[in-house]
């Protein structure tokens, strides 16, 4: 995407630079209109944008959470300025500012807020999704390998915004089972 953008920019700059070369142009308005406006303005832009849109829509469609038996369901509740996480498979258990997930399995995070708008963002696992009071949004994340991943709140929410962070810990299968038995790993 960035390479393409650079190419287009370079193309436009070259066209601009060429406008300054000394020359004698035949005054042919019709031809020029056809070339610049229909050719470049409409044809060129629409081709590129159509391709880009097709790409965006397919990727977006692929990112949609599909049902699978493997999926783990967790709940994320945002509050100024902390996160609490609950687990479908471990009812009643709540962790503060740390989300435990199994590595290698899709996890559906049901996100909501009890006060203002926040946003759930673990840059290395998925895009953002907002925590909105009165709504529950579901985000699919998946960690390929066990480890810890930094999570951030990405919607401005007042004075503690900068430090409103959390941690995601992805466990291997054994640790995850231990976690589900209530043994803090």
């Amino acid at each position: 995407m960035f390479a393409g953008a650079t190419l287009i920019l370079a193309f436009v700059l070259v066209l601009l630079a060429l406008a300054f070369r000394p020359r004698s142009v035949p005054p042919d308005e019709r031809g020029q209109t056809r070339f610049w406006i229909i050719g470049l303005g409409l044809g060129f832009s629409m081709t590129i944008l159509a391709a880009l849109l097709a790409y965006g829509l397919t990727v977006g469609e692929r990112l949609l959470p599909r049902d699978s038996a493997e999926t783990v369901a967790v709940r994320a509740v945002a509050e100024r300025w902390s996160w609490s996480f609950g687990y479908e498979e471990l009812p009643g258990h709540v962790t503060e500012n740390v989300l435990h997930i199994p590595a290698g399995r899709p996890v559906d995070v049901a996100i909501t807020s009890v006060d203002v708008v926040h946003s759930f963002w673990v840059p290395r696992l998925a895009g953002k999704l907002d925590a909105i009071p009165g709504h529950v949004n579901v985000l699919r994340i998946e960690a390929d390998a066990p480890g810890t991943y930094d999570g951030l709140t990405a919607e401005f929410n007042g004075e503690g915004y900068e430090e409103h962070e959390f941690l995601v810990i992805a466990h291997d299968e054994a640790d995850w089972q231990a976690f589900l038995r209530g043994e803090a790993p």
Binding site: M1, A5, I8, L9, V12, L13, L15, L16, L18, A19, F20, V25, P27, E29, Q32, T33, W36, I37, L40, G41, L42, F44, S45, M46, L49, A50, L52, L53, Y55, G56, L57, V59, G60, E61, R80, D115, V116, V117, S119, P123, A126, G127, K128, L129, D130, I132, P133, G134, H135, N137, V138, L152, A154, F156, N157, G158, E159, G160, Y161, E162
Partner: protein, 827 residues
């Protein structure tokens, strides 16, 4: 009459009061335009200083310079000032100054409204400035998302400054937009048909239509949020059936078009300047017009791209993702039309052209990153990071500031009649260009590395330190460049030497007058036969000064101009303007008093201020009285034209029509809010529905129809017998019945502070009640007018205007009553 005597005579008629006192009573577009521009550049300076403070804070990790309380005010006020107090007013000022000159007329449609708009901007801007200096400035970010900005999480007065101050300032944008629409469509030189309009006027027309439909959703949102904060009517609180997403929809319904409202006037400047700098004409004029219109419309289908992360179903996002890519096509058409124009002519590297080149580089990059964030998966990562901040500055600075700098240097010879003496401008351009790209390229990068926007500090371990330092240092280079432009312009006013008229050899009409322009613009109005009248007739200015055009005879000592039929440009009627008056500043001050009483919560003052507004409004319209029939008047070139008061479609009618378009958008947004809450918000359907009442509905619907029919009887009565009192009385009765019905609705709403449903019904009722009061006031006014003998079968213009407002009242009353009763019935 010699040219000099005509000049003296016209100056005596049109000039504002001498000295600084003249500022308070001037209604002349040249003066007000200058005042607008001076004030907006002052705010650019303030916003720029805030930007420097932001960059100073972010230059190093853990900077102790500003804590979050201060930093949040800094970026909120920076964004707010730049968008609302700099960009939009700069467009208004430039268009107020230029449009009548380009269109070949003597002033805008409503000179007093021009001044009123300015003073609203001045006082509203003053409110925000005060909050900044007092350290109680808004701090919720420029898009002010509730619940963060709601009564619970922002109890202080900070947010109220934003909601009330910005709404106040917005009045000036709406006034200007109405005025531009009417002026561009009707106040042109004879012969200037749509296809001969200067391209800048097309852009200004499109922009104005966008303001009329883009700003009302924000005004509605601000009203609702302020009502929630002040009186506890819940619209955005989830516990009480409100939904904070409603604000996001209303805000971005405004916010995205806003970006194009800022860009399109700049594009108008570019389309005007490039051909002149290249000694040619614009390539594909018609295509460019079509592209501007297309852009305006498409930009209303983009707003959800600011809400890609709010959990809207994917297909919903896809519509907006698609529209966001498509909107790049008309932009592309314009960019290539401009480059094609450069190829067609011979570009010369004067200073305005340098800024245009700066525009091209910057804006194209901004457009490309814009297309990237239009792609949903990319946006899920980039959203709310410095990448987005960088992108928006490439678009806003590239798409607005560079073109405006080009505009300043291009029209400076016209403003002052001088030529530039010091060559500071070229150096300044270099600094601005380098500084800008240094600042914001770095911010793209650090954004991709994960730096969020709106954070007041960051850890050294994050590895962002060097990039941020580069960005901050560059931003100071940029600031020095901008300061040099300021210095250059000031020096220009003070020391530069007198220059030639039309130094760029441009073809549009603003150059067919002396520079600096006289108060009356044209001694006689030109007859336009081509798109570039000055190119096709280099002696036009002299011929107009000699009085060879329309309205050359100032014998009657009144400010005159004429209007044309919109598409062909044939003259239709003559307009006689009011003269200098302090009414606008007084009116704006009282309007300010109304807003102030809400801001500081001194509610006993509110009705007093409202009564004051009604009184001054009454005087405002009353002073247009025309005591006798004038009949067709001498308009020059052997033609006679009627005066505006003796027509069916006076300027007031057109202004009302455009204002009602904005009003209807406001109402439409309110209905959208109602439907939105009903379908999306948690906690619906409400616990208790409004009890349907046939009586209320019957009285309301009958009243609405009677009000509308009564006005038609009045028009007929006036036409045949010269009196419309009977019809007006009928209309007034109908209006009163409608008012009664909606007031009863408001009283019967179960618990306005208990649930968003009740709150919305209450506001709907209030909206209808307000329009009933307005229509009633107008009808009363007209009755007094008729009785005092200020109307006649010829002097009929005021009847259709009131009729328009009565019809709108009927529409509103019926819709409000129906949507309020419907759920109760269906249940």
């Amino acid at each position: 009459m010699s040219a000099l005597r005509r000049h003296r005579r016209l100056t005596a008629i049109w000039a504002s009061e001498p000295g600084w006192k003249g500022w308070f009573s001037t209604v002349n577009h040249t003066d007000v335009g200058r005042m607008f521009l001076a004030t907006s550049f002052f705010f650019f300076l303030v916003g720029g200083i805030l930007a420097m403070l932001i960059r100073a804070q972010l230059a190093t990790p853990h900077s102790a310079f500003a804590g979050p309380e201060v930093y949040n005010q800094l970026f909120t006020m920076h964004g707010t000032i730049m968008m609302f107090l700099f960009a939009i007013p700069t467009f208004e000022g430039l268009a107020i100054y230029l449009l009548p000159k380009m269109l070949g007329t003597r002033d805008l449609a409503y000179p007093r409204l021009t001044a009123y708009g300015y003073w609203c901007y001045f006082f509203g801007g003053g409110m925000l400035l005060f909050s900044l200096l007092a350290g109680i400035a808004p701090d919720g970010g420029w898009f002010m998302y509730p619940p963060l900005t709601g009564p619970i999480y922002s109890p202080g007065i900070n947010t109220d400054f934003w909601l009330i101050g910005i709404t106040f300032v917005e009045i000036s944008a709406i006034c200007a937009a109405v005025e531009f629409c009417v002026s561009i469509l009707r106040y042109r030189a004879p012969g200037m048909s749509l296809d001969k309009m200067p391209i800048f006027a097309w852009y200004a027309l499109v922009t104005s239509l966008m303001i009329l439909t883009g700003f009302p959703p924000l005004i509605l949102g601000s009203v609702l949020l302020e009502v929630e904060r002040a009186f506890g009517l819940p619209f955005f609180q989830a516990e009480l059936g409100g939904d904070s997403l409603l604000w996001q929809h209303l805000f971005w319904l405004f916010g995205h078009p806003e970006v194009y409202i800022i860009f399109l006037p700049a594009a108008g400047v570019i389309s005007t300047v490039i051909p002149v700098m290249c000694r040619t004409t614009l390539l594909g004029y018609g295509w460019v017009v079509a592209a501007a219109v297309a852009l305006a419309f498409l930009s209303f289908g983009l707003w959800v791209h600011h809400m890609f992360t709010t959990g809207i179903p994917h297909m919903g996002l896809a519509f907006f993702s698609a529209a966001s890519t498509l909107v790049a096509v008309p932009t592309g058409v314009q960019v290539f039309a401009w480059i094609g124009t450069m190829w067609k002519g011979r570009p010369e590297l004067h200073l305005p052209m340098l800024h245009i080149l700066g525009f091209f580089v910057t804006f194209v990059m901004g457009g490309l990153t814009g297309v990237m964030v239009a792609i949903v998966p990319f946006d899920w990562q980039a959203h709310d990071t410095a990448f987005v901040t960088a992108h928006l500055h490439y678009v806003l600075f590239g798409g607005f500031v560079f073109p405006i700098l080009a505009a300043i240097y291009y029209w400076l010879p016209l403003f002052t009649g001088r030529t530039r003496f010091f060559k500071l401008g070229e150096l300044a351009f270099g600094l601005i260009f380098v500084g800008f790209h240094g600042t914001f390229l770095a911010m793209h990068w650090v954004g991709l590395l994960g730096q969020r926007r709106r954070i007041e500090t960051y850890d050294a371990e994050a590895g962002w330190t060097t990039i941020n330092l580069v960005s901050s240092v560059s931003s100071f280079v940029l600031a020095i460049g901008l300061a040099m432009v300021l210095l250059d312009v000031l020096l220009h006013f003070v020391v530069a030497v007198r220059g030639r008229r039309n130094p760029w050899h441009a073809g549009s009409l603003e150059w067919a007058m002396p520079a600096p322009p006289p108060a009356y613009n044209f001694a006689s109005l030109p007859v336009v036969e081509t798109r570039d009248p000055v190119s096709s007739d280099p002696h036009l200015a002299v011929r107009l000064a000699r009085g060879e055009g329309w309205l050359a005879d100032p014998a009657l000592d009144r400010r005159e101009t004429l209007t044309v039929e919109p598409s062909s440009g044939t003259p239709e009627y003559m307009v006689i303007y009011p003269g200098n008056t302090r009414l606008p500043i007084v009116f704006a001050a009282i309007t300010g008093l109304f807003f102030l009483s809400l801001l500081i919560k001194v509610y006993w003052l509110t009705p007093i201020a409202l009564a004051g507004i009604a009184t001054v409004g009454w005087r405002w319209v009353w002073s247009l009285a025309q005591p006798v029939d004038l009949g067709p008047q001498e308009a020059g070139r052997g033609e006679r034209l009627p005066v505006s008061g003796e027509t069916d479609r006076a300027p007031g009618w057109w202004g009302s029509a455009f204002l009602l378009a904005a009003d209807a958008t406001f109402f439409g947004s309110l209905l959208f809010g109602y439907a939105f809450l009903w379908t999306v918000a948690p906690g619906w359907p409400p616990p208790e529905l409004l009890e349907p009442s046939l009586l209320e509905l019957g009285v309301g619907l009958a009243g609405a129809l009677v009000a509308s029919i009564g006005m038609r009887i009045a028009i007929r009565g006036n036409r045949s017998r010269g009196t419309g009192v009977a019809g007006l009385a009928v209309a007034l009765t109908g209006t009163a019945a409608a008012a009664l019905a909606v007031a009863s609705l408001m009283i019967r709403v179960p618990a306005p502070a208990g649930h968003a449903y009740d709150a919305t019904l209450f506001v709907l009722g209030g909206y209808a009640l307000f329009h009933a009061a307005l229509a009633g006031l107008m009808q009363t006014f007209l009755i007094v007018r008729v009785r005092r003998g200020f109307t006649s079968p010829a002097r009929r213009a005021e009847f259709p205007i009131v009729c328009l407002w009565a019809d709108y009242l009927a529409l509103v009353t019926i819709l409000v009553l129906v949507v309020a009763h419907l759920p109760g019935w269906l249940a």
